[in-house]
Amino acid sequence: MNTLLIDMQSLGFSFSPGGKVLFRDLSLQVTEGEFLLIRGASGSGKSTLLRILCRLQSYRQGTILFHGKPIESYPPSLLRNRMLYTTQLPAMTDATVRDNLLFPFSFEVNSGKKHPGEDQLRKMLQDFYLDDVSPDQHATVLSVGQQQRVALMRALLQRPEVLLLDEPTSALDAQSATMVQRIIERLNQEQGMTIMMVTHSDYIPQGMAPKICTLENGKLEVT
């Protein structure tokens, strides 16, 4: 049986005290290697749920355990490094693709990690359908779809345990979206990476039976 990674118990959340309740008594369990799709209408709180998990948003009620310990017991930077969240359009700094891929290694929490070599970077670019992109190229001139793939590469270089993906294909054209989806599927199938992905489309990963949850009226229903 797979290990329980995330255990969310009776989560309650509203943006301000006395404000509209976004989550009411919400519970969710995620096991190691699982592919979880979270669906729901705009404004239902899908992104907020991922942001709460990696502590980009604080919550007021309930408990969230990661490896059996409250997420608050981890140093925030360490928690986010292990449970890595990527936004819809991750930011690229005004620098080369290489610099964008490597800048997280300058952070204190990553100081002990081994920098990827040039060969590894070029191999990864190929694996991410970025054959025509050079590490020396300026990242901000890449298309949105290419930037999204560079951002995914950057996230994976940190070797997270869980990848929290916030509508990674929503701003992409059909071709780029398919490429990103294939990469995500491969990560789960070949590397066994746990993935929680928010989407408002009907996307279903190929050849898999993901757990699909729907957020509606502050409740999460597994379908």
Binding site: S16, S58, P76, N81, T86, T87, A91, E108, R154
Partner: protein, 269 residues
């Protein structure tokens, strides 16, 4: 040296012609500033006359605690002015700003008064209050610019800050250049002032001393001390205040608390 030429109250009223020019400009161009110009003019007269009487009283009293009390009132007023200029209301920055301003300005004014000018006693209100007032006035503007800039930078670059946080940065690493930008934006005016002083403009204090009959070679020494004091106190106050305020922009989970485009907790969503 001749004593300064006295300005009578009637002569002072001639100065109102300049205000009339400003009012007419505002009226013709529909700037909507007529009310502010009127209130500003009345306040200038009232506040400076009041200050004149208060300073006369304090200079005669020669009391250390009274001098420090006036100094405190000046700092509190500066904090309120900063609060009025900075739009952000969801981050509690007033208390650290006040504490830093008080410690920094008191230290700077003391050093210049006691060491550079060698006033005895160091708190002599005739020196301590004008020197302190100049520090507070200049540094207040720098702080308001720096604080506002920090909030703007963090709001506008929220995606970059959060991307870094998600990749394992702590709040200091995620917002390092926003901090630098904020501090330097506050310091640039006083550095520019050092570049232009004596070439582009004659500073207010030096002009005042020269008008009062002081030897220009003596007046410039005061002015040089003042310029250095302003740059130092602005750098120190901006650095400490912005460092503390930046910490307050992040929550216990090092999450960014500022929300794009919103400025008050009631609107926060």
């Amino acid at each position: 040296m001749n004593p300064p030429i006295e300005i009578t109250l009637w002569q002072l009223l001639f100065g109102l012609l300049f205000i009339l020019v400003a009012q007419v400009t505002s009226f013709i161009q529909h700037l909507g500033l007529n009310r502010d110009i009127t209130i500003g003019t009345i306040r200038t007269f009232a506040q400076l006359f009041l200050m004149g009487y208060v300073l006369t009283f304090i200079f005669r009293a020669e009391n250390q605690w009274l001098t420090l009390a006036v100094f405190l009132v000046m700092i509190v007023s500066a904090v309120f002015i900063i609060r009025g200029r900075v739009k952000e209301k969801s981050i509690p920055y007033i208390l650290p700003t006040f504490a830093t301003m008080f410690a920094s300005y008191l230290g700077t004014a003391f050093f210049v008064s006691a060491v550079v000018v060698s006033v005895d006693p160091w708190w002599d209100p005739r020196y301590f209050l004008p020197l302190g007032g100049m520090v507070i006035g200049n540094s207040m503007s720098a702080l308001a610019i720096a604080i506002e800039r920090l909030f703007n930078e963090l709001r506008q670059q929220r995606n970059l800050v959060e991307t870094r946080l998600c990749l394992g940065a702590n709040y200091r690493e995620a917002s390092a250049e926003m901090l630098r930008t904020a501090i330097s934006s506050g310091m640039i005016p006083s550095i520019n002032a050092m570049m232009g002083v004596g070439l582009v403009f004659i500073p207010g204090m030096m002009a005042g001393q020269i008008l009062a009959g002081t030897d220009p070679l003596q007046a410039i020494r005061y002015q040089i001390a003042i310029m250095m004091m302003l740059v130092g106190s602005t750098a120190m106050t901006s650095f400490v205040t912005i460092t503390i305020v930046r910490k307050r922009c992040f929550g216990r989970g090092e999450e960014l608390l500022l929300v794009p485009g919103l400025t008050s907790p009631a609107q926060k969503k």
